[in-house]
Point group: C2
Chain length 219, copies 2
DNA sequence: CGACACCTTGAGTGAACTCAACGTATGTGG
DNA sequence: CCACATACGTTGAGTTCACTCAAGGTGTCG
């Protein structure tokens, strides 16, 4: 009965991004999970608005090390103008609906999104450079809850964690084992709850926020 | 005889930022080393163009952990519009000349700078999340050489490393001891040279670039 | 049913950290 | 002028947090 919530993964890995057919900006397009989303066409940057789903922006090092730069939910405008086109790629983390838009008619949307992305990137630098694994995972959960949670009933809020443990790890500069251990610990300590690994409930937002901000855990 | 190159430090630490007197945007202002630079006045974001010197943008965690988000050389436009005003601060890393500019008359300069800063922040996320200490220090040296080196004579280029070891560490998500060890190793391996700790000569840019890109070191 | 991806957990390792000592340069006050 | 304090840099010794490696469980798909 959770089918409507479950991720519609396909088996292709991040490394085998499917090419995406041409996309003139007209109307909405659907893109399946784990599929690359083009950020440019014949050298010119493309811009799209995310209508539904979750998109990740990432860069790679030569030897398979990968860093997810940011994770976007519905409403975000993502543009090839604000990434290093040669090095950065976008991927649909789940089935996604996007709408390519004309950059010339949407200047303000693009500059606004650029500013928001910069501020998020700066916060993420602080996370990657100075936070512990525990703090990183707590920060990520709060961020994703903000972007993806449906109505929190009774202080709690549940959300679909579109990202796999490995993707979370690549976002947070950790390994998937470390992410899994942190999530298990949070669950044990009743800060969160989950039975399926991809449906998370925030049980103690306050405590998570304290952790995310770098407070020393009570033990 | 290197006086003209040496840093004009004062003893105040980063933690005791001197307040900066009001700054209406008219003409150039000088700011002494280790002094804070205002990013807003009465809530409204300020914007300045860096004429001379080196400015760092940073954020802090509650318990003194600090992350330098970016380091800017002459020519950069830095704006309170593209940071989280409540959490982010700017500091002069050496004696600096800046010019506050009218944001309404300089839209394009600001949006261009925002885009460049975002792309740099994304590259820095990759560095912080996925690179080793060695790779981080190599990347930083190349970045700073690009921004600050005077004419490279004979393939080499020297530059003033305005940042202290601790500031480098706070930029690269390391400790000052680790930075020092990396620099010493690079010196031992003849990738760089220095007699004073703050005047660096790049001796093997090629090798540094390979390291910075994540190539496995030869040894 | 096997193949595969993903998640979890344990055991052992290692890269970067902490702590500590020492050297140098600069500044201050007696 | 020297004694002292302070900041910064370097290097060594020991520690630790997150990593690697490994094993086993679950769910999905052909």
């Amino acid at each position: 009965m959770l089918n409507s919530l479950s991720r519609d993964d396909d088996v292709s890995s991040l490394h085998a991004l499917k090419p995406c057919p041409d996309a003139p900006w007209t109307h909405q397009r659907s893109i399946s999970a784990r599929t690359g989303i083009p950020l440019a066409r014949s050298g010119a940057p493309l811009t799209f608005r995310l209508r539904q789903g979750c998109v990740a922006l990432f860069r790679e090092l030569s030897d398979n090390r990968r860093q997810i730069l940011d994770v976007f939910g519905p409403g975000w405008v993502v543009s090839g103008e604000c990434v290093d086109l040669g090095k950065c790629r976008a991927i649909a983390v789940c089935p996604v609906r996007i709408e390519f838009i004309d950059p010339f008619q949407n200047r303000k949307a693009i500059t606004d999104a650029t500013r928001r992305m910069l501020i998020r990137a700066q916060a993420h630098c602080l996370l990657l450079g100075r936070k512990t694994a525990t703090e990183r995972v707590a920060s990520a959960l709060l961020d994703l809850a903000d972007q993806f949670s449906r109505q929190g009933h009774g202080g709690r809020s549940s959300f679909l964690l579109y990202l796999s443990r490995s993707e979370l790890a690549d976002w947070l500069g950790l390994t998937h084992e470390t992410v899994s251990r942190c999530l298990s610990r949070f669950k044990r300590e009743r800060l969160i709850a989950f039975t399926q690994p991809e449906l998370i409930t925030i049980r103690d937002r306050q405590a998570l926020r304290a952790l995310a901000a770098g407070a020393i855990p009570a033990t």
